[in-house]
């Protein structure tokens, strides 16, 4: 089967020693794995903080932490999960590993820049975590850094904001790299519409990264300067306008939620046809809807600010636009379901995670519409309904897509296979725990429990108890999943080139691939999903 004599990329040390093999590599697959290692650590830290918060919320009143600590906990949890996990997430790890493979290239367009992005990411991450250790304690503003509180609080906001700035820069460079790669490095015969849908999703995402991130960069810089020089850009006492800060922040941060979800949708669009052994339904509709989401996503930021003071017409327009952005997402879901229809569905773990994604994303998306509806949002703004909603989209959506990708490309990355039986069980534990953890949040939110407090009224006790129990099951599922994957990585059976019978180019080369990916650059003549 393996005809090459070259060592695969995991063994090929290129004459370097020890850690240097990794730290100075320009290989996209190794860089992807370095992101994976870093991201996993931060994800685990984030989850631990989440568990701690849930423990505090087990009973009304103080259980384990005081109010100030709790404020810092949810801020750190948010900053870590958003800026260190979901935003870089799938593009940085699986985009890096798989994009050159699926378009038949040897690497990304700028391999050195790619490594540089990783260093920027690590630097930003160290700064973000450094807020814990130095100065006047970790920030307590929430991950949104709303002014004027963020310019007044004595905590370490400047450093956290600067970290987010650096991380944004890293994200911009990754996006830039992918756009040029997709434009210039597709293999012969791969026209735009013969490109796998994951590449389309990454393409749309990269444009958002490129065009939206600088706005938050400059905004956060303004916060930092405001704090350092004591000037009044956003502080109303000095003539500034705090609502303007919110606008600038969400001009980036709403498109950023599409940075989080689009690559996930791309992963699902790869997995569903492969595990149904059917041609994808509505290829062009899925490809275009990625671009449509990216485009419309720019114009909906105002829905975060329905209660912040905006004119009536502005609010109505933002509400309508928010409904519009749901359409392309729904198009994708319908196309996935239509692809599965009449297919020979194979419920292997990647497919299970993909189905889990569809289910959880559906709940997340529909509750999103509830938030986007102007009248309803006035009632549920800043309640646990919102917390439930965004965990369904970010964790249930992007997080599950991330896990799906991890199980899907696992044999390609390591050349080994995990235990299908245990991975399947881990999925069910995680899936169950997830719903027990977050569904009660939706309920308790409708009942009126506000977010970002360490305490709550006694009538909210039961749902909070259930949710905390759910958090334990979720963690059990996560640990189980990670153990199964690490076991597979260390002593799994040898995997074939193409264990899932996929048709995209990544499956046509060795597992694991060599540093060059392909012995000879392939030429494609058919679309990526021409299953018989």
């Amino acid at each position: 089967m393996t005809t090459t004599t070259l060592p695969n990329y995991l063994e090929d040390k290129q004459g370097k020693k020890g850690l240097m093999v990794w730290l100075t590599t320009h290989d996209h697959k190794r860089i992807g794995l370095m992101y994976l290692a870093a991201l996993s650590v931060f994800f685990i830290v984030g989850v631990l903080i989440g568990i701690l918060m849930r423990l505090e919320l087990l009973n009304p009143g103080k259980d384990i932490v005081d109010p100030q600590t709790y404020n810092s906990l949810f801020t750190l949890h948010g900053v870590i999960m958003i800026f260190l996990f979901v935003i870089p997430g799938i593009p940085a790890v699986f985009g890096n590993i798989a994009l050159p493979l699926i378009i038949g290239a040897r690497d990304v367009a700028f391999p050195k820049l790619n490594l540089f992005s990783w260093y920027l990411y690590m630097f930003g991450a160290m700064l973000a975590l450094g807020t814990l250790l130095v100065g006047d304690g970790p920030p307590d503003t929430g991950w949104t850094f709303y002014a004027p509180y963020s310019v007044k609080t004595g905590t370490n906001v400047t450093m956290a904001v600067f970290a987010a700035f650096i991380l944004g820069f890293s994200s911009i460079l990754t996006g830039l790299n992918f756009i040029v790669t997709i434009h210039r490095m597709r293999c012969p015969g791969m026209s735009w519409f013969k490109m796998p849908l994951f590449a389309w999703a990454l393409y749309a995402t990269s444009w958002i990264q490129l065009l939206a991130t600088p706005v938050v960069g400059i905004t956060l810089l303004m916060i930092a300067v405001e704090r350092m020089l004591g000037i009044g850009l956003f502080d109303p006492a000095l003539g500034g306008d705090p609502v303007l800060y919110q606008h600038l922040f969400w001009i980036y941060s709403h498109p950023a939620v599409y940075i989080m979800i689009l690559p996930g949708m791309g992963v699902i669009s790869e997995i569903i046809p492969t595990f149904s052994q059917r041609r994808i339904f509505g290829y062009k509709a899925i490809a275009y809807s990625s671009l449509a989401i990216a485009f419309i996503g720019y114009f909906v930021w105002g829905h975060h600010m329905f209660t912040s003071g905006m004119s009536g017409p502005a609010r109505v327009i933002f509400s309508i636009l928010t409904f519009l952005v749901a359409i392309p997402s729904a198009i994708k879901v319908f196309n996935w379901l239509a692809t599965m229809y009449n297919g020979s569905i194979d419920m292997k773990p990647p497919m299970l995670y993909a189905m889990g994604f569809i289910f959880l994303f559906l709940i997340g998306g529909l509750t999103g519409l509830v938030n986007g509806a102007l009248a309803a949002d006035i009632h549920i703004h800043d309640t646990y309904f919102v917390v439930g909603h965004f965990h369904y989209v970010m964790f249930g959506g992007t997080g599950f897509a991330f896990f799906a990708a991890m199980h899907y490309w696992f044999p390609k990355i390591w050349g080994k296979m995990y235990s299908i039986k245990h991975a399947t069980r881990a999925f069910w534990v995680l899936f169950t725990g997830f719903n027990i953890l977050y569904f009660p949040m939706l309920v308790v939110g409708i009942m009126g429990m506000p977010r970002r407090y360490y305490d709550y009224l006694p009538q909210f006790h039961l749902p909070n108890e259930i949710s905390t129990v759910g958090s334990w099951i979720t963690v059990l599922g996560l640990v189980y999943m990670i153990v199964v994957l690490i076991q597979g990585m260390r002593k799994g059976e040898k995997a074939e080139r193409n264990p899932w019978h996929g048709l995209t180019l990544d499956w046509q080369t060795d597992s694991p691939p060599t540093l060059e990916n392909f012995e000879e650059i392939p030429t494609v003549t058919e679309g990526p999903y021409e299953y018989k």
Binding site: L6, Q14, G15, K16, T24, H26, R106, D107, A109, F110, P111, L113, I172, L176, N177, I179, V180, H183, R184, M185, L210, L211, T213, P214, V215, G217, I218, T219, M222, V225, L229, G230, I231, G232, L233, L238, G239, G240, D241, L244, L248, L515, E516
Partner: protein, 210 residues
């Protein structure tokens, strides 16, 4: 890729040059720079709309003469950097280096002017934190804050641009940029034009509109 690999013959990817990719990358990067400043332009226009009189008062205190001089200097430097690219295309590396050095000289001149301009204001205590500054009307304070912020960030770009051009001159000297491989210099030039372009917007916004 590293060069000290064990089986170099089979091991190396064919390093093929793709100038279009490099330029595309540069243009994309310039977009992000524009949007970075775009955020500031947005903030500027909103605060100007909210405090028209204060902003007008503020801009009366800026030195139009120095601003105009700096505009001339930057436009000239944009010309010379463009000429240096033509020079390298015509295979005249010495001339190209000379033109780049002149461009860097313009950058220095620009900064000297800025030094005097800022120094003058700082001499009169017109900077955030002083008693004088606190006594200003909020709108005027915002104007000066934006003035320092925008020109300061621009100055940072001038410094970075000048350093980049210095590196390019060195590359030409070492023969790494030649008449048939000059995309790096083109990218450096593009960056310098961006620095120029942003100033062309900053100058009227801050100095000319009353």
């Amino acid at each position: 890729m590293s060069t000290n690999s064990q089986q170099p013959e089979v091991h190396h990817p064919v390093i093929h040059r793709d100038d279009t990719a490099k330029k595309l990358g540069m243009w994309l990067f310039l977009f992000t720079e524009l949007i970075l400043f775009g955020g500031l332009f947005l903030v500027y226009s909103i605060y100007r709309y909210l405090n028209p009189e204060d902003f007008s008062n503020g801009s009366h205190h800026l030195d139009v003469g120095i601003g105009a001089l700096n505009t001339m200097i930057l436009i000239t430097s944009s010309l010379t950097v463009a000429l240096s690219i033509t020079a390298i295309q015509k295979n005249k590396p010495k001339l190209a280096i000379g033109l780049i050095v002149f461009t860097i000289f313009c950058a220095l001149l620009f900064m000297v002017n800025k030094y005097f301009e800022w120094g003058h204001k700082i001499h009169y205590d017109l900077y955030p934190g002083t008693e004088l500054f606190k006594a200003l009307k909020p709108g005027e304070g915002l104007f000066y804050v934006l003035y320092y912020f925008m020109t300061g960030l621009h100055m940072l770009h001038v410094v970075v641009g000048a350093i980049l051009l210095g590196i390019m001159a060195n590359y030409i000297r070492k023969g790494m940029i030649t008449h048939d491989n000059y995309v790096l210099l083109e990218n450096g030039g593009l960056y310098w034009h961006l620095v120029d372009l942003i100033w062309i917007y900053l100058f009227p916004l801050l100095y000319l509109i009353h």
